[in-house]
Symmetry: D2
């Protein structure tokens, strides 16, 4: 069973290597009738693009997406949506000298163990360029979610021990760290620049929130909402931990402290007075905000000399040249948003078959969808 597809009803398959001809994806299962343009997708790709700031690497790529199928007269047709980004600025010669060495923290060794050999140019398919297909597909998922009022926002919560103390959503896209606390963002930027100067890299935490998610999404056993989101997040390169709501801190709470009381809201609907559960109970959305956090490791590619072995196991020093990100956090934000959007779009559609008599849909879709 191949592993390059994600989702059941809204389903993504990605392809492409870092220094191959192109990267991209097929989105299968997007319902017919969704307004969709290249600009919708390009906007999200621009958010993840490298070379966009001094905290990211200097590699220059336009990452211009083309839609090869599935859209007619500005709307999705229900057929597969093929999205392709041709690779441009790829210098494989950086890698030629180290192709027989196993870069520490990278997937070179494990790919050889799995397949017997690998496309060593730029990390091949283990490159973060693979996430272009995800972000492109996630842009479509976000549009589908918007039809029922779901919004997704992600940001850098922490870099090392530097952690946002203020949550000002309007600030997120205004600073290159995508941190909702502008003062801490400044400190983060200094820290990243220092790391670059010392030829090192830094990890941190990204948080993503989804608002307006209707209660009832998620399948109660294996495809719990947190299970599918958890898988989505752990499928992103460099993620070492994922948590929901209060997360690992839940171990410091008693049941009587952790249980969120159910209440009736002003509009008559049922909700919870607090949201320690992070928007999911029993694997199913409660209607409260879904909150998930991801711990990203410091990028494995650093400009320092490191000790390793070659393919025969002979000890060797290695210098990984090329253009490295001292931190992945700002670029991780749109990727994590995309993965959350993909899971929610999938479950939004899956929920349509939960009852013999379907749940009432929103009383009126915005006119552009009708």
């Amino acid at each position: 069973m191949p592993g390059n597809s994600f989702g059941h009803t809204f389903r993504l398959t990605t392809f492409g290597e870092s220094h191959g001809v192109a990267v991209g994806c097929i989105v299968d299962g997007c319902p017919a009738g969704l307004p969709l343009s290249v600009a919708d997708i390009q906007h999200e790709l621009d958010r993840r693009r490298v070379g966009q700031s001094k905290v990211s690497s200097q590699r220059k790529e336009a990452d211009e997406v083309q839609i090869l199928s599935g859209v007619f007269e500005g709307r999705t047709t229900g057929t597969p949506i093929m999205l392709v980004v041709y690779n441009g600025d790829a210098k494989s010669s950086h890698y030629d000298t180290i192709k027989h060495l196993y870069r520490p923290g990278h997937a070179d060794f494990t790919w050889d163990a799995k397949y017997g050999f690998r496309d060593w140019r730029g990390g091949g398919r283990s490159s973060a360029r693979e996430t272009i297909g995800r972000v492109a597909a996630g842009a479509i998922a976000k549009l589908l979610l918007a039809t029922v009022g779901v919004q997704i926002v992600g940001y850098t919560l922490a870099l090392g021990e530097l952690r946002a103390q203020v949550y000002d959503e309007g600030e997120i896209e205004r600073n290159i760290m995508r941190c909702p606390d502008p003062a801490v963002a400044e400190q983060m930027i200094e820290r990243v620049e220092a790391a670059r100067r010392s030829l090192d890299s830094l990890g941190g935490i990204v948080e993503v929130r989804a608002r307006g998610v209707p209660a009832g999404l998620g399948e109660p056993v294996f495809d719990k909402l947190q299970a599918d989101i958890g898988k989505a997040m752990f499928s992103i390169p460099a993620i070492k931990g994922v948590e929901f709501g209060v997360g690992f801190d839940v171990i410091h709470l008693r049941g009587s402290e952790n249980n969120d009381a159910f209440v009736r809201r002003a509009d008559g609907s049922i909700g919870t007075a607090s949201n320690r559960h992070g928007g999911i109970l029993g694997g199913i959305s409660t209607g409260e905000e879904i909150t998930v956090r991801l711990a990203a490791k410091p990028p494995a590619s650093i400009a320092q000399t490191q000790q390793t072995v070659d393919q025969q196991g002979n000890p060797s020093a290695i210098e990984v040249k090329g253009r490295h990100d001292p931190t992945v956090l700002p670029r991780l934000v749109p990727i994590a948003e995309a993965m959350l959007a993909l899971v929610l779009a999938d479950h939004l559609l899956r929920q349509r078959t939960a009852r013999v008599v379907p749940e009432p849909e929103p009383s009126s879709y915005p006119s552009e969808y009708v």
Copy 2:
């Protein structure tokens, strides 16, 4: 797409409600020729059974498993293995008085939101009894993994702020907390008994390790080993966080500190000098020990009176009677082991199709498999 199956090649489908007729599962895709007996499965079910100690609830159930298909003359035949446990000691009357109320921290509200109604007896399918099918299937997965030398061990790492300081594997199954540090185990037991007396509950951390996993398992993009294990763990009730290797602490390390150096081992194979990566790089096993940690919330069922609403949103106090676990940790251990075993068994089989010319299998299987 229904959500009650797990795995691609080694595939599990569970069924059953807490107070229904039976719970169990079908395992499809287990290769032919694996020696399998009822005792192999019963052993693992006994490990997860309630009523087994003073830190767990007092409900008495034998949980005797029957094999209805798929085994012939003591070996699996390649056909579906149907495992069933008939439900015994179920007192639904406890729940009759609260069936219109939403228990805080439980899935009652979200199930109603999803399906319009629910089987309210004993939590229905959202009960932890659903995990019986998982543990039974996991027992088979463990046997399959053992044919290539993989071993799995789980234990309670932390209860609240109490954390094992010593790792003595032989102690794990000797104390009722399944903690590898016998002194800390004693403290944990006292803490649990105090929580029971105060009608409250406690969360904690379970850690699971897999040893002897061959390098090369896992699919590099969406079905990364950590993604599938992450999904597996988040599909267990009550889990709020999952981490691998150094986990969330990775944010306090620099790339130069976090990268594990590759080395040649005494036997000529390639490994890493340290294991901060937790046995997985690029989504593929490295051959080092796989380590994963799960944060479990304090059980939502507590004997205290709590505030909630009924199905119409009317405020109401609720007392959840019945038999409650003050902590799920010791019972979580075999469940988490089972989920890890299911993922690894699936990827062990999936790996057989990674190359045109299959990798050499172990030079000699133990004679009982041939």
Copy 3:
């Protein structure tokens, strides 16, 4: 990837061997709220049961189904529906003497080639008893289809060269051949009895029709309606050919003769003036009656002595004792109906996600579903 599941959204997994403990299935993905009783399922199982007439074998089995999960207070809950039939009257000793021989026309040799060994008792899992799970699941699918007005009817169209000349639907269940032409049914019965006397067996054709199928079901590329129905029918033991509408006779028609003209019906809807296409165009239902025919081979089990080899390839004569059907046709009818129902139920649910704004459902469901 194991092969014992069928369907995507309405999904069936069967288990069980002929002389094992039990046979049955799990239905996953049935929406919540469908009225369902044991009697609904038992009715269909009784239709497929052996020992029911002189044209079928004499084996006596009650085939009593139990529902182990997924139904609460008379309605489906959205959780897996587990159905089990315990095996009763199984005499394996018939098979003991031939367990090393390959029965001509049977799966003994191919199972050994696949798995290395097999459960030889009563054909093991290759027995037609496996279809019990399908018929049980199909009964649920039929109920789901009935909520939108779909009806399915199957019958014996031909036994050898004897072919029904009259279509009187009321006659089908009145004769033991399930033939809509009562006069031809009498001839068929005589022919079957003669075959039994000569220790031989006969093949024939079953036709199944689905009425009231809404236009729009089916996915246009690989999961065309005829592709999924074709797979469903070819998955039934003994089927050697499947055709839709005019079927193989289409080769004798010119395009101008074969194209069905579109017309406006009296109720304003669009249909076709003729139905040579058998209710499906481009893989999608047209709203016309779906018609499919299956060619079933004469049962391989015959009481005559036959030439074969043993597992080592040594020539040997074989006498297959036991209770044989001289024809499978009457029992094939409910099996084929079940498979058609499973495909249509699956696509009925899948169709709910075809559009961003879902299609209007039937203006009013019958009151029992609301």
Copy 4:
């Protein structure tokens, strides 16, 4: 669940519309290490291309394939293989005048019923251009099958009542009908030209054979080899019937006549003395030649004026201009071969997990695969 993917372990996803930007596919699950070049794929695409003879339509398209990913230094890497063919010579203006009319025998009406609207240019995704992705993927499947000695050959067996009487395999690719009987091929060509002159079209039968298939492929219940092949064939546009071995004629044979006797071959292996079963018993390959036949309807596009309705149901005459094939048979041959190859490649890989101790692979792979 979207319907544009096929296969489990060797898995194809196609995309593209007739007059969109491009058509193509992603092949996921192809094992690493298979030698693969553009020429291997182009060869098969050239075989299916239109404009290749007087019996096919006059549309000129180069159908040049590009490999965008998954191949490195001439070998597959185990990652998704992305294949794209940009659309060239597409004149949508032909269709502009009939976009509101439902072409008889076409999918226009059913697509509208399903999705609410459709890409009407050149039939959109219901065009036979969708099969380009299949043929491209099938070329890879054939290469994989060749590593274990499997060969696939297809041909036109019948056009209307004209049926090949001679089987000379060397003749197939020498005549434009791809008929193994050169004399009958001549008659077929005359018949097709006459049909073109009378503005009409003709159906027929294509047969495909697979040789060298190892015994043991296929899953015994729902994923029987004939079930998956049957689905594959019915997923090809225009197919109304599929049969294996003796096919529908099986109804004229008694069990004693139809059962193929098992024998020991000269090389010591076990086979059958005859092959009425068409290479499959119990859903699993026997090692004999697999034979399958497909009945293709006469193409729905004919140049005659036909009666139909528009989208509102108003009666209207329609003239379908453009370039029509009077028969699809010669082009159907490589498509049917591709679909058979895709199923067999998938089951070849799936078979690797049937046993705990894998079956011995061919003792020596040709040196180019090692």
